[in-house]
Symmetry: C2
């Protein structure tokens, strides 16, 4: 088991990474609460595998858990679902001293964190991440929220959890496509901050795809460390934290475009991970054309993405002008200006807000290359 | 004009109190934003009087304001109304660098602050308080939120404004009953923290009721100072901030009871201010019966409330057991335990969590005394 401390304004919390961590949930939740009430939010898929042990652990710690399973998938991240949860929390008598537990992937923890942030102006919460994306990304940084029909994560708040459990054993039941989504963020972390991590991914791609627990634990822990460093330095996305958006300016636009058009991405489903992989390929190309990034570094990123089962080319037609419009619509744009994070080398990025529309067009075109 | 600085974790902002402050809104909003977008939220009543000058001031500062008037009254403080506002903010293209302006009483500023807290995980906002309650209470402390059908302010967040304007000129159009609601909180501030303020209220009750601008400015400024001191010392209601709940443990219960029963309070409408006045009368009685508070101090509180047009006796029957149950249901109760703030003297209170149900019953009974 590895323990990583996340330091944020006015508080700090631990992310624990390992196997068989679910039995420790009760202890963590108990430490976070001042009353016996625990309100657990999960989804129907995760509940099948892990709700029993989670509830058992909460009970063993002397808490009185009440559990709700929301429908699986991004569709549960709505204001209406949050409204339903407030009703249930109130009816369950959850008071300000109680604790909310989010048990699931990023959708569940974003939703659970958001209702915890806004129920009685904030109650404590504990995240139990059961997806790779959740473990390496959503679990650190305190971002919580729900989607608006026209904009993902439009409605949200920053609300740090009291503790995070990342049980890599739970990744055994994760669908392949969701594992890949997590791996895209892992590659991103390597590219923005850690050349040694990229080497590890190059060496251990097979073991990761085979879900080797020891390799997963080491890789998740290093990713949590990277994210924690960045987030601690910049809790609210004023500056350094923006580097986490590498691949996401183009990636979000491609993702929105594919959703809107009902299109596939690189011959597979239009997942966030596939979109981010393609976004990194495009943004690395912008960097190379500017003379910022060496050709070898661009190639290594491309190869590791491909080895991890992520797309590096688009097999589908793409309307570049529509993508540009969607990028400007993104909530990270300010006054319609696109902000980019561009790699200078493996493990090092710079921020740029002077990327021209033509540079983006050329980069999008490169995704059609074979 | 008086300017009071509110210091909170990681930021600070000014509350400006005076007359003719509306023309300065544009400057404040501009300083808070990083893009030209300003999204103004008001209600239909306030809009009649003050929307024109507010929009004019925003435009004069180079901002592009978009305004929405919600229906007047507590009924607008819902999650559904917040959802409608997110839609409009997104359609208006409000980005993360934009600013939200709440122009109105506590309902409008609570709602505006909540959508500002949760739109894109938080955008800047400016409060323009046009009610006495808003100016002396809601405008300081960063509490924002909406109501749940069964619990006021259940859904909310802490989100400090970038600036607050308290234009006492706008109190000229405030209905009498709403003026009294603000005065109840003013008496509360005097009782918990400032004997000199109580003396001033005793001397200037007539001028306050006549809405003398100079007296209002002085009284509002002193109240903002008191609230700012308490809130700066304890931003999130861990300890000292609880003293602001004086009168509110019983007051909230009476208010909920009257709503539930459709009853009047002290021969008038069941407003928050009337409930808090009665709550302070009951809680001062608990303090006196404990030997904490002198009879003279209890009498002075009672007299000043009466002179300000607030009730000190209930003319209506009250179900004490139901009141007790409602108090336990309140979101400030923890594990069903009632927390009280009891006066020791004019200007000084202590916290108590050992008040028995019988003490509450006796105090409620005292409200029937003539």
């Amino acid at each position: 088991m590895q323990r990583i401390r996340v330091q944020v304004t006015g508080s700090a919390y631990d992310v624990r990474i390992g196997t068989d961590l679910l039995p420790t949930l009760g202890r963590e939740a108990k430490a976070a609460s001042r009353s016996p009430d625990a309100f657990l939010i999960t989804d129907a898929h995760v509940a099948d595998h892990y709700l029993g042990p989670a509830v058992q652990s909460l009970r063993a710690a002397g808490l009185a858990p009440m559990a709700v399973a929301v429908p699986p998938g991004e569709g549960a991240k709505t204001l209406a679902q949050a409204g339903d949860l407030y009703d249930r929390m109130l009816r369950a008598g959850l008071d300000r001293g109680g604790v909310v537990v989010g048990l699931g992937g990023g959708v569940v923890t974003d939703l659970a964190g958001f209702v915890a942030a806004t129920y009685m102006r904030g109650v404590a919460w504990v995240a139990v991440s059961t997806s790779l994306l959740g473990q390496v990304d959503a679990s650190v940084g305190g971002k919580t929220g729900v989607d608006h029909p026209e904009c993902k994560n439009l409605i949200g708040a920053f609300h740090q959890p009291a503790a995070v459990l990342a049980d890599v054993g739970t990744l055994a039941t994760l669908p392949d496509e969701e594992l890949r989504t997590g791996l895209a963020e892992v590659v991103k972390h390597a590219m923005i901050r850690d050349a040694a991590l990229l080497e590890r991914l190059e060496a251990d791609a097979g073991a990761l795809l085979a879900r080797d627990p020891a390799v997963l634990e080491a890789v998740v822990a290093r990713n949590v460390e990277i994210k924690a460093e960045v987030v601690s330095a910049d809790e609210r996305e004023g500056g350094l934290r923006r580097i986490l958006n590498y691949g996401h300016t183009v990636g979000h636009a491609i993702e929105s475009y594919a959703m809107e058009a009902g299109a596939a991405l690189g011959g597979g489903p239009a997942t966030h991970g596939r979109a981010v992989a393609l976004g990194m390929v495009a943004e690395a190309r912008i960097a190379r054309r500017r003379g910022l990034l060496a050709e070898d570094a661009e190639r290594r990123q491309r190869q590791v993405l491909a080895r991890l089962g992520l797309p590096v080319t688009l097999n589908e037609p793409l309307d570049a002008e529509r993508c540009l419009a969607l990028a400007r619509h993104d909530k990270k744009a300010e006054a319609g200006r696109l902000r980019f994070v561009l790699p200078e080398a493996v493990g090092r990025v710079v921020q740029a807000d002077d990327v021209t529309d033509d540079e983006v067009r050329v980069a999008l075109a490169c995704l059609a290359e074979r």
